[in-house]
């Protein structure tokens, strides 16, 4: 019933979920070893997928190629490789990313891989428009004017900046990064700048959004508030679509759950097996809730610290304190990680830990709570800002914790997916009890719009899938 990723590298975007009936997952898959090495070699599978993508990009006849990438599947590496190959083939290339941080990161990666490649960094005319580290790179030219960068092999900028570029000779090729997070109207503004393009992104992360209602265009193929990829594919259904089949970030304990809950029809595997990674602590548990949930997470990759059921304000003081407590114990107990990158245990430092929340005020409250025991260097941010980032351990304040209702915002599949897929070792969720009941009391009531493809799985289903798995790693805690 579930497509076998070893069989084909093609993502089936035209997949019709109704053919497969209600999306009930086989929970037993969670306990199974993610793959059998004799049948599935992750490196070989990933290499095969990459080769097919590069072939279609360089030699295919279609104007566009779409690549779906699950969390941590080597999307950035693919973008860098494709950029180098296109440059080597003598095709002028523009790269469209969504944020300045992503652009700077790509420039640094390109320069690391091929230091003599002439790269242009098109930036805004604001103060501090780019990462100062770019000034160190000899072959990277920076300018706020596209004309200054003409003729360079690769020119990189954000979609917002590209949209201001007018009256130039179109580029022969473009790479659009994070294309699922790009809005259709942003693609409309830049699509005239290139002839052909490679679109890369993660369909499971947060959808783009508009700050005003856009229902009047719902169902139109070019709905400006939809994602760039949905508009592209609606108008060009025959474009080749690929999928990266292996997540190198997610551990063997996480890939099956994330795959089942958020990518049930385009499953992926982890690049490492059980036992390839481990998390341990130098200081034994003191028996408290936070310590016990850390031990649970170290052993199984997941931990749920469950506070008593209660309706709370968004910045639930008890839950925020519990999050801070977990982070502090993570550091105090002298965590050490082992992974395929280093066989010797590496200390778990603050910069390898992130706290994820749904709202900015929650992140601010956690930061304030962490400042009290003077914990510094831990990233605390919302799901939107954690997209594309990677840590060893994440601590998540569940979006529905303490809420009296389940709104579309809090149910959004992508939000939970981002929060549950940033870690290489373990993920600890802090939540009030009663979320399962809350979900059952608030079935999805969003109006059905004609012509809009129903997104599967919906937030309700995905939340239940994650909750039922977390229930096996539950540590009740009364602060």
């Amino acid at each position: 019933m579930i497509p076998d990723p070893t069989r084909t590298h093609r993502a089936d975007a035209s997949f019709d979920p109704s053919v497969f009936g209600p999306s009930t997952f086989d929970r037993s898959t969670f306990d199974r070893s993610p793959f059998d090495r004799s049948a599935f070699d992750p490196s070989a599978e990933a290499a095969r997928a990459t080769a097919a993508i590069l072939h279609d990009t360089l030699h295919g006849g279609a104007r566009g190629v779409v690549v779906d990438s699950p969390p941590g599947a080597g999307k950035s590496t693919l973008v860098v490789n494709a950029a180098l190959e296109l440059a080597a083939a003598g095709r002028p290339l523009m790269v469209v990313a969504q944020t300045n941080a992503q652009v700077d990161d790509l420039v640094l990666r390109l320069a690391e891989k091929q230091p003599d490649l002439p790269v242009g960094r098109l930036h805004s005319s604001d103060a501090d428009p780019y990462d100062k580290a770019l000034d160190e790179l000899e072959h990277v030219r920076k300018s706020a004017k596209a004309a200054d960068l003409a003729g360079l092999d690769v020119v990189i900028s954000t979609a917002a900046k590209w949209a201001h570029v007018k009256n130039v000779e179109p580029w022969r090729h473009a790479i659009v990064d994070e294309a699922y997070q790009m809005r259709s109207d942003a693609l409309l503004a830049v699509a005239g700048l290139f002839e052909r393009a490679l679109f890369v992104g993660d369909p499971g992360q947060l959808d783009p959004f508009a700050i005003v209602g856009s229902e009047q265009w719902a169902g139109l193929s070019y709905d400006p508030s939809a994602s760039a990829v949905s508009t592209l594919l609606a108008h060009n259904p025959s474009l080749p679509q690929h999928r990266l089949p292996v997540s190198w970030r997610l551990p063997a304990s996480a890939a099956p759950l994330v795959s089942d809950a958020f990518y049930p029809y385009t499953r992926f595997r982890s690049g490492t097996d059980h036992g390839d990674r481990s998390l341990s602590f130098g200081v034994p548990s003191d028996g408290s809730g936070p310590d016990r949930v850390l031990d649970e997470a170290a052993a199984s990759g997941w931990g749920l610290l469950e506070l008593p059921a209660r309706h709370t304000p968004r910045t639930d003081p008890e839950a925020v304190r519990a999050v801070a407590e977990v982070v502090r114990r993570l550091l105090d107990r002298g965590g050490a990680t082992v992974s395929e990158r280093s066989p010797d245990p590496a200390p778990l430092t603050a910069d390898r830990i992130a706290v994820g929340t749904a709202h900015r005020d929650q992140a601010a409250a956690v930061r304030a709570a962490l400042a009290e025991p003077a914990v510094t260097g831990v990233t605390v941010d919302t799901a939107n800002r954690l997209q594309g980032r990677e840590y060893d351990v994440t601590v998540v304040l569940h979006p529905l914790s303490g809420r009296p209702d389940a709104t579309a915002f809090h149910l959004e599949t992508g939000r939970l997916c981002v929060l549950a897929s940033r870690h290489r070792q373990a993920c600890i969720v802090v939540c009030r009890a009663g979320v399962a009941e809350l979900l059952d009391e608030h079935p999805s009531t969003e109006p059905v719009q004609l012509g809009v493809t129903v997104k599967f799985p919906d937030g309700w289903e995905a939340n239940h899938a994650v909750l039922s798995h977390l229930a096996e790693h539950r540590v009740p805690y009364r602060p």
Partner: protein, 560 residues
């Protein structure tokens, strides 16, 4: 919902009275608005039953469709509506002032200033509720593609002369209503709930009678008398049945009890004392009063058609006229309370001083009106059924900019709104405790003074975040540097200090100044310009097809 909003609602629940959400009026009110209270027929989308319309609160024009399923009567209604609305809309067209507009020169492709004219004022259409705006949209959609006999002599059911034009205007009004902060069309329930918080749910706030009862309860001397909304001759039943709860409500909260009564109280005959603001009518009214009256009307019409001699025909005609008058009286009885409520709402709003920046948004409404006036004059075809890709993207971008601008302007105009932003960490206010002059390192140093601010707010300041303040109406920006030892916020001022080495007089705060800084921009800019529709790229399906759209085809349902 901001914390201030939540607090106001809780205080409203406790006191039984609506609480202010604003200290100024955030929407422009025209000197001469046109109020439109439409009713629709149950079970048939877009079939108007009647309306009260007019710009004079004492002399509304009553329009009635005695049999809404009769398309000729419906057209007669629409023709009458056009007669009321179009002269009002047109009356603003000729009074213009010179203005400038930036356009793209078709030859050079450069942005150039063009001399043009802008209407000095614009029409303002007030409907009772959001559903009223949707009904305006529906009416517009049903009319703008109709053809008159003059436009198309072969049209099987030609529309009366001005009806398609009315459809285009109503479409424009309804589309403009989607722009945040616009005031060309306004729903009274939305205007009121923007400025007052009640102790009921936002769903209940869509009931104009209940909403007004919270804000201005009848019987307190604050209303103008029309506050006691009453159905036809049901005043007595009301006082009998509600006597006790009236007494109770004095203690519990006059507004809450009055709102409950407005929503649910019925007379002895089972009719609501405060009819819903429409356009949908109460089913009890439809079943018990309207349906029998329409049946009498239909019977009289059949009798007139079947009359064999003059005297019989005269008799039946008199019956028909009586039946028609009866329906008209019924429609008036259900629209007049709403009409009065809308005007009462306008009085309440007019008592608030207008926010400083509401006029700037009204100017945008005037541009919108002027633009559509020009398109009609230029003989352009009616608005298409569906936007093309470029138009849709442009509209979305315009509205997102308008939303950001509206949020910023409301906060700048109104300390109560700003308080909500401060509580959510998007702004902070405090006293300047220290100024340290500093300069840029360049060959010609510019001032970059460091300002320390003592604040009790907890802004979400990221590293090197940009903040803004209003300096004589113009935004000045600064950069967040860090916190000093005592928790004061240190900012570096970046601009609006003139060209010299020393900042201009008054452009840098002095010790003791109380300043509110915002993390949001004061005048958000629009996005980049999009390609012309003819240059729609391949990713979006290429350029749209040519030509104006055909009128709606006649379907069997049109001639039921």
């Amino acid at each position: 919902m901001s914390l201030i909003h939540t607090l106001a609602r809780m205080e409203a629940v406790e006191s039984g009275r609506a609480q202010p959400l604003a200290t100024v009026r955030h929407r422009h009110l025209a000197a001469r608005p046109l109020v439109f209270v439409p009713l629709t027929t149950a079970g048939e989308a877009g079939a108007p039953l009647g309306a009260l319309v007019g710009a004079d609160r004492d002399r509304p024009r009553l329009l009635v469709v005695p049999q809404p399923r009769d398309r000729d009567l419906r057209f007669a209604f629409l023709a009458d509506l056009a007669e009321e609305l179009l002269p009002y809309v047109d009356s603003f067209a000729d009074d213009t002032e010179p203005a400038e507009r930036t356009e793209t020169d078709p030859e050079t492709g450069k942005r150039v200033k063009v001399e043009t004219e802008l209407c000095a004022d614009a029409p303002q259409l007030i409907v009772p509720s959001r559903a009223g705006i949707e009904f305006v949209r529906l009416l517009g959609r049903s009319m703008r593609f109709r053809r008159t006999a003059e436009q198309d002599p072969d049209a099987p059911y030609p529309a009366p002369p001005r009806v398609p034009l009315l459809g285009r205007w109503l479409t424009h009004f309804a589309e403009r209503a989607r722009v945040p902060g616009s005031a060309l069309v306004a729903a009274m329930t939305e205007l009121l709930s923007r400025h007052w918080a009640t102790g009921q749910s936002s769903l209940e706030d869509q009931h104009l009678g209940a909403l007004l009862a919270w804000i201005d309860p009848p019987g307190e001397g604050s209303g103008d008398g029309s506050g006691t909304v009453s159905g036809d001759g049901s005043g007595e039943g009301e006082s009998e049945g509600e006597g006790e709860s009236e007494g109770e409500s004095k203690a519990e909260g006059l507004g809450a009890a009055a709102a409950l009564r407005a929503e649910t109280a019925r007379d002895a005959a089972g009719q609501l004392l405060c009819p819903p603001a429409g356009p949908a009518t109460d089913p009890a009214f439809d079943n018990k009063l309207l349906a029998p009256a329409m049946e009498r009307y239909d019977r009289a019409r059949t009798a007139v058609a079947a009359a064999e001699d003059g005297p019989a025909a005269d008799r039946h005609l008199a019956e028909l006229a009586a039946a028609e008058r009866e329906i008209a009286a019924l429609v008036e009885s259900r629209t007049r309370p709403t009409w009065d409520a809308v005007w009462r709402g306008l009085d309440l709003l007019a008592a608030l001083p207008e926010g400083e920046r509401a006029a700037e948004r009204w100017t945008r409404d005037r541009w919108s009106y002027t633009g559509h006036r020009d398109r009609v004059l230029a003989g352009e075809p009616p608005q298409p059924r569906v936007d093309d890709a470029v138009t849709a993207a442009n509209k979305l971008a315009t509205r997102e900019t308008a939303q950001a601008r509206l949020e910023a302007q409301e906060a700048l105009d109104d300390p109560l709104v700003m308080a909500g932003r401060r509580l959510s960490g998007e702004a902070f206010g405090g006293e300047v405790t220290e100024i340290v002059m500093a300069y840029t390192d360049s060959a010609r140093p510019s001032p970059r003074p460091l300002v320390t601010l003592r604040t009790d707010d907890a802004p979400h300041l990221a590293e090197r975040a940009k903040v803004h303040r209003s300096l004589a109406g113009k935004p000045q920006s600064a950069q967040f540097v860090g916190y000093d030892e005592e928790g004061g916020v240190v900012l570096r001022i970046l601009d609006k200090m003139g060209r010299g080495k020393e900042p201009e007089e008054g452009s840098v705060p002095v010790k003791g100044d109380r300043i509110v800084w915002t993390l949001f921009e004061h005048a958000p800019r629009g996005g980049p310009s999009l390609p012309e529709p003819d240059d729609t790229p391949w990713t979006h399906g290429g350029p749209p097809g040519e030509g104006a759209e055909a009128p709606d085809p006649v379907t069997p349902e049109d001639v039921l």
